[in-house]
Amino acid sequence: MTDPLDLYPISENAPELAVSASGMPLERLTLDEVLSGGVAAADIRISAEALRLQADIARSAGRDRLALNFERGAELVSVPQDVILETYEMLRPGRVTDPALLTARAEMLRRDYGAAAIAALIDEAVAVYARRGLLRRRY
């Protein structure tokens, strides 16, 4: 198998692998296409596949923490913006006093979006928040 690092930059070395979240291949994102109305907002969004590929590349470059972040990012690609912002808000200190709410959020993300790594991050937060007294109203 080839070293994923050889694919980098994808836009130059493997443009065929760069497909937007909507499935539009990179080469179709041209000015003509934009002008004729053939490009929508979802077409300029990164796909989970591209992020996983970037994770492989990062890992191959010896940057495993960055790779894990890209993989968490890949899990969030299909998560709607309002759910992302709501989850972020719930993770902020003192927003949630009942740990069950966070646990339920983790479960929902795992179930509905296959976001296992994100869910694990939330579960880990719940344990620490409880021990450090962060599940307490701040305002």
Binding site: E12, L29, L35, L51, Q54, G62, L66, I84, T87, I118
Partner: protein, 755 residues
């Protein structure tokens, strides 16, 4: 007993810019400690069953939120025992050893706790830290980031200033707002401005996280660096986040194809009131370990908002460099601070930037104010619009690539105008605003927003609201640009949208150059001593050295050598000069090019006036002036000594065309003159007259007061020596070793005055 007067030097020192700066005494209890506090823990770590159960003297059950995250995600159990056992000085030596590869050190860092990292960099001098930084930083090619903001949130000015910043070579531009609700208009204006010219610049609109994500989703922005982290739990919670909320946010940015970096910096905890009496470096080391743990690609670090406070402490600037070193050692992209202005002293500002210029950095400034200080909505940067040319000159001085390139006046003017017209066209095309031509003209010429007749912040708010409510995106802007004849700009903006699909710029230290991603992956810093690492290409060096106003031989001679070869000479040779026998005789020895090839002194006096002043002065002093042309020398001392030896009185004056003049006596050594006017640029005609008078009075045996040409401390060398050296070469070029001096007469009033 009389009292001792105050030395007035102190009054002068009191009035210097430096005295606006505050300096803090070390006070550990108050958190004022740079590298070490007795409350800092000693380095330690313990692993049980593959799990980190102790960090820096603290057991697992006492871990605060930072310890817990660092234990779980930063520390590599495979490396801990080896790394923690190493002697800090030995590791410090490895950091400056060109034979120890960067990768080997990065591996060790993965097994080091914050206190351990601190113990290593504490062993290093500022020079060693800077050197290690140049070796450990991630991307080989250095870059820079600009702030583009203005006090009115005027979109026309934002577009023009963004285009200017792009033309200067900034790899990233960051904007923010005076009024929060203007964010969408600011983002659109900067995105359009940044598409004028070379394109491919990463752009950020700094605002509250939720809004920033939305603006990013609309395609206007491509990176975010507002993911702030802090070094104590209390400060973190007060900052309204936790390591988990920030790690989640970092993943969210990645999921939207937006490059992200964290922000942290020394003294932030001090400003927030939660320093726990620990040194600023130790707290920052915790922040940096946390950032690696979160999986963010990079950091904006090196004081940032806390940089002025850190710089108030002894060793503060060394500390800022040390934390940047820890950042890159941990494998993070580093936008190395140098943003907030740390001092009112220009000397401290210049000194602050110099090690970074020499070492290079992923982004030397995490916000160079490309606009005027008062327009910098973040606060004045270390360097601002006022000082851009100083920075360009420092690059040239040290032959160091600070990421910027000098640009010509006419190209800047064209780019600015094109950017203003482009945003005006987009606003009109999208039915947001019809921009009056007077506004366009006003903004094009204005240095800053205080001079513009353009949008008010309130009008911008209405546009910004419309952009947000109508859900306008970068695609709409691409269409509008193209429709209105800004095809190149439309392509540039589209190029940025294409980039986000591949995600290439999400990798460590990624920027875009010439339409290609350049990052730590495909352009890794490979410094291993002389002959390796980043060096400017010939083309790059040629561009860097072209600062404005370069003097060339041709331009100097064009201005100075106002010589008309067709004019009748006003100094006519009458044959070989002989020694005079009149005791009142004062010979004035003129240099080879005097009044012929060269016609003005560096002070701008016509040489005819200078000769008249000297000869009239001699007469006033009771002497008889005689003019002699020297050809065997152009040196002032020898001109003067030869003149003195030809003089009946034994006293003579030597003068060069550039105006340097001397009184000499026949029996002296060449460089032991009687009086010397060495500062020709500040020598007046009255001084020359007085010199003539004194020469005659010496001849009569009097002891006149020497003429003092007052100087006020200007660097005449910096101001004149380039011209002087070029002019003097004309004089020396005319020297004929054995040619005897020639007696001269003046033929004024015969049409011989050069124009």
């Amino acid at each position: 007993m009389t009292s001792t007067p105050r030395w007035r030097r102190f009054d002068e020192w009191d009035s210097r810019q430096l005295r606006h700066d505050l300096f803090a005494a070390e006070d550990v209890e108050a958190g004022f400690a740079t590298f070490h506090s007795p409350w800092d823990p000693a380095p330690s770590a313990r692993v049980e069953n593959g799990r980190v159960v102790e960090i820096d003297g603290k057991g697992e059950k006492d871990f605060d939120i930072l310890d817990a995250y660092i234990a779980a995600h930063h520390l590599d159990p495979e490396v801990i025992d080896e790394a923690m056992a190493m002697d800090p000085v030995e590791v410090a030596r490895m950091l400056v050893d060109i034979n120890v590869p960067r990768e080997k050190l990065e591996r060790l860092a993965r097994g080091m706790t914050p206190a351990k990292l601190v113990s290593v960099v504490t062993a290093m001098s500022s020079l060693e830290i800077a050197f290690a930084y140049s070796k450990m930083r991630q991307r080989r090619t250095p870059g820079n980031q600009a702030h583009v903001t203005n006090a009115k949130d005027d979109p026309l000015q934002l577009a023009a200033d963004a285009a200017f910043a792009v033309a200067l070579g900034f790899d990233e531009i960051e904007t923010t707002m005076r009024v929060a609700s203007n964010s969408w208009a600011n983002a659109m204006a900067c995105a359009v401005g940044a598409a004028v010219g070379r394109g491919g610049v990463l752009f950020q609109c700094s605002i509250e996280e939720a809004e920033e994500l939305q603006i990013g989703m609309a395609g206007f922005t491509s990176y975010a660096e507002t993911v702030s982290v802090y070094g104590t739990e209390a400060a973190f919670v007060d900052g309204d986040d936790t390591p988990w909320s920030k790690a989640f946010l970092t993943a969210a940015y990645a999921s939207r194809g937006i490059k992200a970096r964290c922000t942290s910096g020394a003294s932030a905890e001090l400003l927030m009131g939660f320093h726990e009496r620990q040194s600023v470096l130790y707290l920052e080391a915790r922040c940096l370990c946390l950032q690696r743990a979160m999986g963010v690609q990079g950091t904006q670090n090196g004081g940032i908002d806390g940089a002025p406070l850190t710089s108030s402490m002894a060793g503060g600037m060394r500390e800022l460099m040390a934390e940047n070193l820890i950042a890159v050692w941990l494998g993070l992209e580093c936008a190395s601070g140098n943003d907030t202005r740390v001092s009112e002293s220009e000397i401290r500002v210049g000194a602050k930037i110099t090690p970074y210029l020499m070492a290079g950095s992923d982004l030397i400034c995490s916000g160079f104010g490309s606009i005027r200080k008062y327009d910098n909505t973040f606060n004045p940067s270390l360097f601002n619009g006022e000082e851009i040319e100083d920075y360009l000159t420092l690059q040239r001085d040290f032959q160091a690539d600070g990421g910027l390139t000098p640009i010509t006046e006419s190209s800047v003017e064209q780019l600015r105008m094109r950017a203003i017209r482009a945003i005006a066209a987009v606003f009109e095309e999208l039915d947001l605003k019809k921009v009056p031509e007077e506004w366009v003209q006003s903004v094009a010429a204005a240095s800053g927003s205080q001079e513009t007749d353009s949008f008010t912040p309130g009008e911008v708010t209405r546009i910004s609201e419309a952009i947000r409510k109508r859900g306008l995106s970068a695609l709409d802007v691409v269409r509008a640009l193209s429709k209105r004849g800004f095809g190149e700009e439309a392509e540039n903006l589209l190029f940025m949208l294409r980039q986000r699909i591949s995600g290439d710029y999400l990798q460590t230290s990624a920027i875009l150059r010439d339409g290609k991603v350049v990052s730590a992956l495909n352009d890794p810093n490979d410094y291993q001593g002389p002959g390796s690492g980043y060096r400017m290409s010939d083309a790059r060096w040629h561009a860097v050295r072209e600062v404005r106003g370069l003097q060339t031989r041709a331009t100097v001679l064009e201005r100075e050598r106002r010589h008309d070869p067709t004019a009748t000479p006003w100094l006519v040779a009458k044959g070989e000069a002989v020694k005079g026998d009149d005791p009142r005789d004062i010979v004035i020895g003129l240099s080879p090019a005097f009044g012929v090839e060269l016609t003005r002194t560096t002070a701008g006096h016509d040489l005819i006036d200078v000769v008249l002043a000297l000869t009239e002065g001699v007469r006033e002093g009771g002497g008889t002036p005689r003019l002699v042309r020297m050809r065997h020398t152009a040196d002032t001392s020898f001109l003067g000594l030869t003149a003195a030896r030809l003089s009946g009185s034994g006293y003579g004056i030597g003068i060069q065309a550039k105006g340097t003049a001397v009184i000499h006596r026949a029996d002296r050594l060449p460089h032991m003159n009687i009086e010397l006017f060495s500062n020709a640029p500040v020598t007046t005609l009255e001084h020359y007259r007085a010199m003539g008078r004194n020469a005659a009075r010496y001849a009569k045996g009097e002891a006149p007061e020497p003429i003092v040409v007052p100087v006020d401390g200007q660097s005449l060398a910096a101001r004149y020596h380039v011209r002087v050296a070029m002019l003097y070469a004309i004089e020396t070029g005319l020297v004929v070793a054995d040619a005897p001096p020639l007696e001269l007469s003046m033929t004024l009033g015969q049409g011989g005055i050069p124009t």
